[in-house]
Each structure stands twice: as structure tokens, then as C-alpha cells.
């Protein structure tokens, strides 16, 4: 498998804390990679390094290389804004813009490119909402406020907003942890769909979820990458003892 995103000796420091320690890993294109590990092991930190989210955090230092199609996104002259348009992100809690309608939420990111025709916008909204299987539920109330949707619908709206920008990679940080089982299932089906077109990296605490949706699983512990392999192998015959302990719940 050819890789889409490559981390090469990635280190992240927050002031004195060394949160991510020398991580080297490949994320294959058009597939789902799950990142698992106990709380505080640096999963979110790794994920946020991939679209340069740490640029916003005072005191955060990132070193090492992250390659997106062979370009180092931390390289000289690389604009983080351009990077983030190619690497989208979905957060743990749904965070639609409360002052905007459903329609405007979907188009919010895409619109940044500049002016566009009305029908172009409508088309983007429709296709994006269809891809997240939300279109039928909201097509009659596109102008109503995004906060009127349920939590699960809001999260799918956020995913629609992300894919409307047409990124190559989608990062998801526990995207279903705030949702009920049915919404979770919908999100999982959606991830399955999306991997046709996108490279997806998902952080999750839910082992079954990782096993269900991912092709590759990476296990992190205390800021280090312990093991990364095909999901089936990780969940049946992992190489490392720590991985096995964690998967089987015998951890700590």
C-alpha cells in the first residue's frame, strides 16, 4: 500500500512535558487507520500535529517531519492554511457554528476560496450532506439553525462541512464518543463509505469500533508508538505484550 501521510521521528513538547516521543509511522492512502491507547498517551496530540493544529497552542513545540505526499508540512514556506484545506479534522464534540444555518455551516469552509455562484453552493451542500447521509433528514430545513439538530446529526453536519472543502485526509478525534449507539453506527458506516475517497485517521477508545472500521491500527502508550499493523493482526496476534494486555483489557 502506498502511504499518504508519513510521520518521521515526530516529537511534541508542551512546555516541559514530552507528550509524543519519536513516533515514526505510515498512514496508507484510501484506508482507515485507528489510533488506540490509554487516556493521556498522546493520541490527540499526534492527530493535531498532522494538520498543524498545535500552531494555535502557545508553548507547544513540534519537531520531526510529517510528509503529506512527500511534502513536509512543517517545511519552510509551507502555509498551514493550505495544509489544513487538504487535511480536514472532525472533533470529539460536534462543533457546528451556532450562528449559522445548516446550509451555511456546510459551505463555511468551502466559501473561503472566494465568491461562488449560488447553484454551485447549493450543489456542494447537497452532495456533502448526501455523503454523510444527512440530506434526507434536513433537506426541508436547510435554512434553520444548526443547533436545532440532534447531537448525532450535528456531528454528521461537521463531517459534511469537512468534506465540502474536499480534503485528501480526514482526521477524526473520537468522533462518536459523545453520541448514542445509533448515531455511532451511522458515523461508522459513514467512515466505511468515505475511505473510498479519503485517507482517514481516527482516534478511538472503543476497541470494537477500531476493529470494525479500521484497516490498520496503531497502539500508543505513554507518548510512544508501541505497535502498528493490520487491524486483524493487532486484535488477534499482536507482537507486543503491552498491546495484547491493552486489547484484552488486562492493562495496568
Amino acid at each position: 500500500m502506498n502511504s499518504k501521510v508519513k510521520l518521521d521521528d515526530l516529537n511534541v513538547h508542551f512546555g516541559g512535558t514530552h507528550a509524543v516521543k519519536g513516533v515514526t509511522i505510515d498512514f496508507p492512502a484510501n484506508s482507515v487507520t485507528a489510533i488506540i491507547g490509554p487516556s493521556g498517551c498522546g493520541k490527540s496530540t499526534v492527530l493535531r500535529a498532522i494538520n498543524r493544529m498545535h500552531d494555535m497552542t502557545p508553548g507547544a513545540r513540534v519537531s520531526g517531519r510529517i510528509l503529506l505526499d512527500e511534502t513536509d508540512i512543517y517545511g519552510r514556506g509551507v502555509d498551514p492554511v493550505a495544509i489544513r484545506r487538504r487535511i480536514g479534522m472532525v472533533f470529539q464534540k460536534p462543533n457546528p457554528f451556532p450562528a449559522m444555518s445548516i446550509h451555511d455551516n456546510v459551505i463555511a469552509g468551502y466559501k473561503l476560496n472566494g465568491r461562488m455562484r449560488r447553484d454551485e453552493a447549493d450543489e456542494i451542500v447537497e452532495t456533502s450532506l448526501q455523503r454523510v447521509a444527512l440530506w434526507d433528514e434536513v433537506k426541508d430545513r436547510l435554512k434553520s439553525n444548526a443547533m436545532e439538530l440532534s447531537g448525532g446529526q450535528q456531528q454528521r453536519l461537521c463531517i459534511a462541512r469537512t468534506i465540502a472543502v474536499r480534503p485528501d485526509v480526514i482526521l477524526m478525534d473520537e468522533p462518536a464518543s459523545a453520541l448514542d449507539p445509533i448515531s455511532t453506527l451511522k458515523i461508522e458506516e459513514l467512515i466505511e463509505e468515505l475511505k473510498e475517497r479519503y485517507t482517514i485517521i481516527i482516534v478511538t477508545h472503543n476497541m470494537q469500533q477500531a476493529a470494525r472500521v479500521s484497516d490498520v491500527t496503531a497502539f500508543f502508550y505513554l507518548g510512544e508508538l508501541i505497535e502498528c499493523d493490520v487491524t486483524k493482526k493487532i486484535f488477534t496476534t499482536p507482537d507486543r505484550k503491552q498491546t495484547e494486555d491493552y486489547i484484552t483489557g488486562r492493562f495496568g
Binding site: D79, G114, T127
Partner: protein, 296 residues
């Protein structure tokens, strides 16, 4: 299938994204500069005022300023001793009246009040603190000055107390709300009555925050001029009774500033320096209290 193709990233679209980026970044830079410029534009006149007060104040201030009362019109020299003492008297009296009302009112809001009535009182306190202080002066004039047949220190202090109350009430309430319920419950469980718990446990653990609020309220009334115009009135001399008009530093600064004599202007600058230094000292102390309170 149609859906699939339309969402594809076409080469043209990608070029478009990249083309618009420099423009967007330029806009970002321009707006950032404008916001930084706004900060400078805000700080510049304020810094200028500060520099003038320090410069003019320092050149005018002397020991006489603290020891003497104003000289008659046309004579050089004199000071604002009576104004400074008068202000202290007014502040002390206003604090005696206003602080207990504010604190106990706040205790009601945070410890007893039903949510509806508390919200109403809170709202009224916020609205009250936005009423122009000159109105407070007029009201106290018709409530106290007219019946007592004269301007007095008492009326001035009462007007200042009215201004203090909502400030103390709101800041105290904020502080009391931050005291964890577990602390109160621990004390109540030991059989300490609610009122003693409130005073000895709740209020005490919020004390630094409450002090901050009180100091800020004092800083606010120390500079108030308008509510004193028709209550304390001001006094060229020392006053010995609380039922007489009394001098106050802000009032003296006002009347000396609008008078046509250079020497009085100098005194006004000196007074301004004293007032500003006092207020800065008060708010820095308040900040210090506030910070040490947050650490705990």
C-alpha cells in the same frame, strides 16, 4: 455516481484554491495590522493623559499641597489638605453604610434566594450600577439635603454609598458562588447553624475575593464628582461637622480646573496626580488580592 464525480477534486479547483490563498493571507495581514493599530490608537491618548498628569502633577506638587487648604482667589500657593481629608471621611462613611448592605445582600442572593427573585435583584443591581451618578446626586438632594435644610457630608456619603452597594453586592456574590458546596455541608454537618456557617466558613473562604470587590468599589467612589455636587457641595475650609458641607478632592480638582487662574490649574494637576496614584494603588492591591485568592 453523479454525486461521486461532483465531489472530486478537479485540477482547476485546486488551482483556484491556491490562487486565492495569497489574497486571503494579505487580507489577514492587513486586518491584523488594523487590530494592532486599534490597540495603539487606544493606548496612545490614554498614555498621553497619564504622561501629562505625571509631568504636570510632579511639577506642581509640594509639601504645602498636603498641609494647606486653598488660598483665597488670586493668592499663590495653598493646597488641598481639606479635600483629601474630606474625601477620606466621605469614603469611610460611605463604606460603613454601603459595604454591609452589599455583602449581606450578596449572601441572600447566593445562600438563600429563590432563583427567580435572585435573578430580578441581580438584574436590578446591574442596571442600578449603570445609572448616571449625577442622578444619584439629585435623588439624595431631594431625600436628604432638602429635609435637612443644607448640604452635608452625610448626604455626600449617602450618595456614594448608593453607588457602592451594587458593585459590592455583585462582586461578593460572584465570590460566594465560587465557594464549593462541600465546604458548607461539612460545617453544617458538624451542627454549626447556617448563619454561623455562612459567616465563618463561606464568607471567610471567599474573603480575598470580597476584599478585591470592596477595594474596586472604593476606587470607583474615590473619583466620583457628579454625585457630590448637590450633596457634599464642597468647602473652601475645614469642616468640623458631618451636617456641614465638606470638601472633597475630586470636587476641588473640578472647580480649580475650570477656574481661569494658572496657579489653580497647577493645584488641580497636583490633585489629579494624588487621585490617580491613589486609585492605581487601590486597583493594584485589589488585583494582588484577586490573584492570591485565585491561587488558593
Amino acid at each position: 455516481m453523479n454525486v461521486m464525480t461532483s465531489i472530486d477534486r478537479s485540477a482547476a479547483e485546486q488551482r483556484n484554491t491556491m490562487r486565492s490563498l495569497p489574497l486571503r493571507n494579505t487580507k489577514n495581514t492587513i486586518m491584523t495590522l488594523l487590530m494592532g493599530g486599534a490597540l495603539l490608537a487606544v493606548l496612545f491618548p490614554l498614555g498621553l493623559i497619564f504622561v501629562h498628569i505625571v509631568k504636570m502633577g510632579l511639577s506642581a506638587i509640594s509639601l504645602d499641597f498636603f498641609l494647606h487648604i486653598p488660598r483665597p482667589t488670586g493668592e499663590v500657593g495653598g493646597g488641598m489638605a481639606n479635600g483629601m481629608v474630606g474625601s477620606m471621611v466621605l469614603i469611610a462613611m460611605a463604606s460603613l453604610m454601603g459595604i454591609p448592605v452589599g455583602i449581606f445582600g450578596a449572601i441572600y442572593l447566593s445562600e438563600y434566594g429563590g432563583s427567580r427573585i435572585s435573578t430580578v435583584i441581580r438584574f436590578c443591581a446591574d442596571v442600578l450600577s449603570g445609572i448616571p451618578s449625577i442622578i444619584t446626586g439629585m435623588v439624595v438632594y431631594s431625600m436628604l439635603v432638602v429635609p435637612m435644610k443644607g448640604f452635608s457630608a452625610l448626604a455626600g456619603a449617602f450618595a456614594l454609598a448608593l453607588i457602592m452597594i451594587p458593585i459590592v453586592l455583585r462582586t461578593t456574590e460572584e465570590q460566594l458562588k465560587m465557594v464549593p458546596t462541600s465546604l458548607r455541608e461539612a460545617s453544617l454537618a458538624l451542627g454549626v447553624p447556617l448563619w454561623r456557617t455562612t459567616l465563618k466558613v463561606t464568607l471567610r473562604s471567599a474573603l480575598t475575593g470580597v476584599m478585591t470587590g470592596i477595594l474596586l468599589a472604593i476606587a470607583r467612589i474615590a473619583g466620583e464628582t457628579a454625585p457630590l455636587l448637590f450633596t457634599a457641595l464642597g468647602n473652601q475650609f475645614w469642616s468640623s461637622k458631618l451636617t456641614q458641607p465638606i470638601a472633597a478632592l475630586p470636587l476641588q480638582i473640578f472647580s480649580f480646573a475650570i477656574a481661569p487662574y494658572d496657579d489653580w490649574h497647577r493645584l488641580a494637576w497636583a490633585g489629579a496626580l494624588v487621585l490617580v496614584v491613589t486609585m492605581f494603588a487601590l486597583s493594584l492591591t485589589a488585583r494582588y488580592f484577586g490573584r492570591s485568592g485565585h491561587k488558593n
